[in-house]
Subunit: 204 residues, 2 copies
């Protein structure tokens, strides 16, 4: 992840390494136990470096959220002419991302930081969810223009319904650490069901 710059800019590479280390600690120990000490130790960096580069604790986490949100979400590459297949593939991808360890840890941290006046949540929403859902809504709008979907209340609301059907309660339950994590086939099933239901609601 982000090793791209390692050759040309060792400083940026080191920065990326440190952020990755921070992410490891966050995933392993949770926000509350992710102290600057722990990060420095994991990254084999000095606290002085951390503070010099990231300002303070919140600055570090802001950088961390940006770092992972950018790395996490690549463009959806399925063929949009096949609505069902596209929805299923995209749904699967989104679910995998949302239920992954890093996403869960980051979301937990963002939620925890809300009442500490954190802007983490805003960054996360804009950089993560926002981009993805705009993509989906745009695709839905396109299909509507082609006459293949009927979305009288707008593509955004339709996209919201799709996301609701897709996620159900599983993301919240994952955030709450409810034991059973979804297996790959279960994720596939959820994505397929969401696509079906969505088309049942909106197919022209």
């Amino acid at each position: 992840m982000a090793e791209a710059q390692r050759a040309d800019d060792p400083q940026a590479a080191r920065r990326s390494e440190i952020l990755d280390a921070g992410l490891r600690v966050l995933v392993r120990d949770g926000w509350a136990r992710t102290s600057m000490n722990a990060i420095a130790k994991e990254a084999r960096a000095s606290k002085e470096t951390l503070y010099n580069w990231f300002g303070d604790r919140r600055g570090f986490f802001a950088a961390l959220v940006r770092h992972t949100a950018q790395n996490a979400l690549e463009a959806v590459d399925a063929d949009p002419s096949e609505m069902t297949a596209w929805l299923e593939a995209t749904g699967q991808r989104v679910l995998q991302l949302l239920l992954g360890d890093t996403s869960i840890a980051i979301n937990r941290a963002a939620i925890a930081s809300v009442q500490e006046g954190g802007e983490l949540a805003a960054i996360l929403i804009e950089e993560g969810r926002g981009k993805a859902m705009r993509q989906v809504a745009a695709q839905i709008a396109l299909w509507a223009e082609e006459g293949r979907l009927h979305v009288p209340e707008g593509a955004d609301l339709a996209a919201d319904d799709w996301l609701g059907l897709l996620k159900g309660d599983v993301q919240l339950l994952a955030l709450l650490g409810q034991g059973k994590p979804l297996s790959a086939p279960e994720i596939e099933t959820r994505a397929r069901r969401a696509a079906q239901q969505f088309l049942r609601l909106y197919a022209a």
Copy 2:
């Protein structure tokens, strides 16, 4: 809330008062800043009492979660012969509850406590969500038996779809402190839409 016992058992009443005070602090300041000191101050109680009665910090929050989860969820009282109306009323109620200050604060605390080895989340799921969703699923199963709904994959999955349509992403966004809280009419609209969509998917 829970003043019922105040007359007969002053100890239980005081206990309830203290828990309410703890909840106020939690809602106002968030989990991280809800120290035992702050609770004692808000409740005008001594820390000694807190530790005597609740064991330790986690014990206090476990009691707090139980206290509020029990108080929060009263039975749904709408008339179940009218499917649409029942779904709308129930949906509205659930949304109001889920998006209320206390629910958000409690959920945030539970999420934060997951990685601290907390059992808060388990209590919250069982005592809150579990009970409510069992009620809804049971009602759906009843309608299915009457031949008014068609739920080939079972009432539980159908109830899940309803919840997904109802909540969409709004609960997560609220947990993330995303600025705009839903107004009462917006909640009403969401509940109505969820009921409509649900019936479109499952009406016989």
